[in-house]
Symmetry: C2
Subunit: 363 residues, 2 copies
């Protein structure tokens, strides 16, 4: 559902203020029922009161089959992700904010700024209405922080025992500014590899919660929208930024391997240069994980021209999402398609892609 | 995952010929495991061999975080749908073709032609690999028939018992040709309401299968892509086509109610004019359902200027997806926001929106 052209009569759906209670009466509708996905009155009420109450905008409020976006000619980026993280609420975020940030970041890694976001829910019968409201409000906050609106959506309900509370799909369309060209095809030997901050926080926050690990400070997800930081880097460094990648599932290890394969070059990482928070490192040791393989949701890897590496670090460090950015490696013509890491004690090892089922359902 | 700009080195992923066997060795990978969603080697193999084997195109094959679409300036339509139909295979289609058709049709109802499609899977651990291959091949066929390519995708795996085999999300971006303006805002009293063919086939095909009903001929879904037919109608009738709507969940009853409310007009339907196949009608009687509330996946309602109603019917009937099109009602200034139906014996009744949970998980 969502929106169509022109001067559709707009429904007046004032967005609820921050902290507002769920607009659906919880005593009457304490939980999701199959009828909320049936396409009838209850479906309509869920959309009009709960979803529009959380994140109504002019396009979404028209409630047609598709949203209409006015665009300039050129290149659009288009991306999709489903989220099945368990549990759906965790320190520093929830499945809603994670979905928005993850999808905005996928666009940002193409050099694109978001034009519109879709949100599709697959809900299990019995899912608490109040939790859905909380997730919907979180989607709104994350979308606001990313400078994007939810313009279209969909809701399905599956019978009890056939889902797991809530799954979220977010897709998005973004515009790539003229002249911007980032991607593996632009990586060259000699390029420097930077990371925008400490790695492994998201995966470890989720796993610690599931395993019941306790630390002195609460381990939080790093989930955050990177599009603002990317816009600044591209505006100031232009072609000096060769490629961007967010190391989500599979972590830095998988992301660098995929980029090395796509670019047909070798990459070298310096273990001691890769920032990892002490408590994250401690949790990795307890859990038997290498932080290089753990997911991030608010970090990016950058491949930059060596001539702009210092400037890139300065821009990153001046931004709230890049204060602990570091140069972590470089690109070589040797061992194309492979990533090597020099350890703290000087040895070289091959960084393989993640294999096996180390970290299920962290996003 | 999917694609980025320019001259990325393209992987050579020849699409498997029609009827080809699953490119993953089924003796070694008989079913989906959690590692297929982990972002590592098995995830990569699933994407590169199975999904690219089924529906590789130049954008998808680049396997970056987002696809890049070259567009002209103007209006884009953007839509999303998740599919949770059970069972996932049914007469005349499956969850894959249904997802493609449904999403292409949502664009078509905005007057848009598709530019690119995303496919996101949420798979349950243990889902048969061969079934996934069959669905992926079906997505390819349906996309070909709709004139669109899968340009980006995503795969998540949930643990056994936390899903239901396979859920599919499809999102799509389409271009609305200059001058095309269809939507509830253009509906006027006096407009005629047409339907492109017999209603209720999809919902009844799924329910008959679930209930084990047997008929002389096999009841099949009507799932089909309507964008070609819409393009022809708009090219030949221009502004005479006021609005389009596919009566999916909630059927003709819910679709007409939503349009009457959005347009601020009344609508009248003629029961005897609404085409329903005999066997579908029979099944509706057995199941205690009114065909007006049952879902369609390859039909549309049209609101047209009375001056072009005859031409619209002729165009519909000359097209393979509209051979049994009919005029079924009209728009009035009375009872705004309400839909009335004149029954076969002449009485008038209010057509309410679907309420309750009549037909769970038919799409």
């Amino acid at each position: 559902m969502s929106a169509v052209t022109g001067e559709d009569r707009r429904m007046s759906n004032p967005v609820s203020p921050v902290g507002a209670a769920c607009p659906l009466p919880l005593d009457r509708y304490p939980a999701i029922t199959l009828a909320h996905g049936g396409g009838g009155k209850l479906s309509r009420q869920l959309v009009e009161e709960l979803f529009l109450g959380a994140y109504a905008g002019p396009e979404l409020s028209k409630l047609h089959d598709g949203a209409v976006l006015q665009v300039e000619g050129g290149r659009l980026a288009f991306t999709t992700d489903s989220y099945v993280v368990t549990p759906p609420f965790f320190p520093g975020g929830d499945i809603g904010s994670l979905a928005v940030h993850g999808t905005v970041n996928d666009l940002a890694m193409c050099g694109a700024q978001p034009l519109g976001l879709s949100v599709g829910f697959i809900l299990e019968e019995g899912f608490p209405m109040e939790d859905l409201w909380r997730i919907a409000r979180s989607i709104r906050s994350a979308a606001d922080a990313s400078g994007v609106q939810v313009v279209t959506g969909d809701t399905k309900v599956v019978d009890r025992g056939k889902g797991d509370g809530v799954f979220v799909n977010t897709s998005a369309v973004g515009q790539i500014p003229d002249g911007v060209d980032v991607g593996a095809h632009r990586i060259r030997p000699g390029d420097r590899i930077l990371v925008s901050g400490p790695v492994a926080n998201h995966g470890i926050a989720i796993l610690s919660l599931r395993e019941g690990l306790e630390f002195e400070t609460r381990l939080e997800t790093d989930s955050a929208p990177l599009n603002g930081l990317v816009a600044e880097l591209l505006a100031r460094l232009g072609d000096g930024v060769r490629a961007l990648r967010d190391p989500t599932r599979g972590g830095v290890a998988s992301a660098t391997n995929e980029m090395a394969a796509a670019a047909g070059v070798g990459m070298r990482l310096e273990e001691s240069a890769i920032p990892v928070d002490d408590e994250v490192r401690g949790a990795c040791e307890i859990l038997g994980l290498d932080p290089l393989y753990v997911a991030n949701e608010g970090k990016m890897l950058l491949w930059v021209d060596p001539a702009v590496a210092e400037d890139a670090l300065a821009i990153l460090r001046a931004h709230p999402l890049g204060t602990r950015a570091a140069e972590v490696g470089d690109v070589v013509s040797e061992h194309p398609g492979r990533v090597l890491q020099r350890s703290r004690i000087g040895g070289l090892r091959v960084v393989e892609m993640l294999s096996g089922e180390q970290l299920p359902r962290i996003c």
